[in-house]
Symmetry: C2
Subunit: 314 residues, 2 copies
């Protein structure tokens, strides 16, 4: 059985684990990132965590196929370079080379954290029976990952797969990226909460006011009230319709075997997926003449990054 | 020097050529498709054209690495199957197997014609110095092709790369695919001509009426009159803005090394490309922090399909 180290590098914690080729996590732990130590210091923290995990598992560096890292920022995976990572404060840090030299020359691979999490879901999570999948994560923003034939598609210098930043409403809502009308500006949890609050403000008679104040609004509110409140239903229908629009776009571009949704909104399960799938099946290019694109909910949650990082070497 | 046969299969003519590994066409010719002979008959016509070309070039089947075909319709390239091709009247025709058996067992590969033309442009045309490119063809409709690391991305059962059928204006203009607001409904030559006619009808004082009647409108009209007619300029600006919106979406999704534009509208050269590139450079995700995406005009024209078909085997 082959073994790999997976590292999920965040601004606050470094999570690491030893993973076997079946995607089983033998051991995992985390350590503070200590961004203030600078890039070299963080690399040392990663190497120390890796060695600690190996020791606790009774393994040597020579027992390991290599180490994979999911890192925030713009990543040149071919060169193992973090081109730019805002929340680490890094620019052009050759982390691959550095870690390999700290760890006896073992192979080190790196990818953008959102992309790597998508790879984890395709190798070992909700899309493990498929080799091509698009993953869309509905959080504060909308992130994504593209896996084709079991490999990540990251774009030139890792700058692609910005799946939240495609305009679906020309001239529409302001997006964080500077453009107007991006999928993110309609399908993020942030957008859903914004539209819920607007509906409540516009309609003092909305049953949603039962929750108390606008500050109590979250991504669940319209799902909870849609069955009993017409204003909640309007917001939810519009949310579903815009998200479906973006998903169908990706289905027509990639015709993946499956589309995965991640992020907090997915806790709504079938209340989210069923109406999306109905619109997808109806509006996808060429209707039922082409292969169907099922929409599934990601299942690995916090371990997607760690498993995907290990999968970079598989 | 290795040699390949490339076939561009159309509803009226079969075009074929012998191509070497440098993308030089040693000989090419065409023959009527004769759709009325049925799938088997068309396959025989292809085989006859291939043998004829070989004979005239003094080559034997054993001198050839294989034969590639660009075919209209939905193509399962892995199995060499034409799943569905409306204008050939075919359903589930295993053309790869059939042609290989007619041609002494040589390898046969097949792809969708639009995808194959994109591959031709990347291997031997305007994107020959790049390995990853998105091609968008602005014709009666809007077609496309995706090439990543020198390989076509065709989607499950070849049903992907429908790059004209992504919504950029939610609830917008009716598209041929059934949805509203697709890129095709704003960026095809058909859409440009539609909007030109509308502007003329709305403005009897437009200088564009110098061309005579609405029937004289073509994809050039607004380019010709934009410098002297405010209504022409409005239509052109809107056309450029919507097309740029779609191209930036593809830049953010794929961050390709280059985007290629094909089709008749591209005859406008810099008048089309320069304003598109200016919007791209300004609005692409992360601005100038990431790699630039140049927009180039395809250059192979009618031989893109034939060269791309041969390139399926390279």
């Amino acid at each position: 059985m082959k073994h790999f180290i997976g590292i999920d590098l965040g601004g606050t914690f470094i999570k690491g684990g030893i993973v076997n080729e079946n995607g089983e996590i033998l051991i995992c732990d985390k350590t503070p990132t200590q961004v203030e130590r600078g890039a070299e210091g963080v690399a040392e923290n990663i190497a120390r965590l890796a060695c600690d995990l190996l020791e606790r598992e009774g393994l040597a560096l020579s027992d390991i196929e290599g180490l994979g890292i999911g890192s925030p920022g713009m990543i040149d995976s071919a060169r193992g370079n973090v081109i730019y990572a805002n929340n680490l404060g890094w620019e052009n840090f050759m982390i691959g080379e550095k870690l390999s030299s700290l760890l006896g020359g073992i192979p080190v691979k790196i990818g953008n954290d959102a992309n790597v999490a998508a790879l984890g879901e395709v190798k070992f999570g909700a899309a493990r029976n498929y080799s091509s999948a698009i993953m869309i994560t509905l959080g504060t923003g909308v992130g994504g990952g593209i896996v084709i034939d079991g490999k990540l598609v990251e774009g030139n210098l890792g700058a692609g797969a910005e799946l939240g930043h495609t305009v679906i409403v020309h001239g529409g809502a302001q997006c964080s990226c500077g453009r107007r009308g991006c999928l993110e500006a309609y399908s993020s949890a942030t957008a859903l909460i914004r539209d819920t609050k607007r509906a409540m403000e516009a309609h003092p008679d909305s049953k949603m006011w039962e929750i108390g104040t606008l500050d109590a609004v979250n991504g669940k509110t319209v799902f909870d009230y849609a069955p009993v409140d017409v204003y909640a239903k309007e917001v939810l229908d519009s949310y579903i319709e815009h998200l479906a629009c973006g998903l169908i776009n990706y289905a027509n571009i990639f015709r993946p075997e499956v589309i995965l949704l991640g992020g907090g909104v997915c806790a709504q399960g079938d209340n989210l997926i069923k109406p999306l799938q109905a619109i997808m099946d109806k509006e996808i290019y060429a209707g039922d003449k082409g292969p169907r694109v099922p929409i599934l909910i990601a299942e690995l949650e916090n371990s997607a990054g760690l498993l995907g990082a290990a999968a970079l070497l598989m």
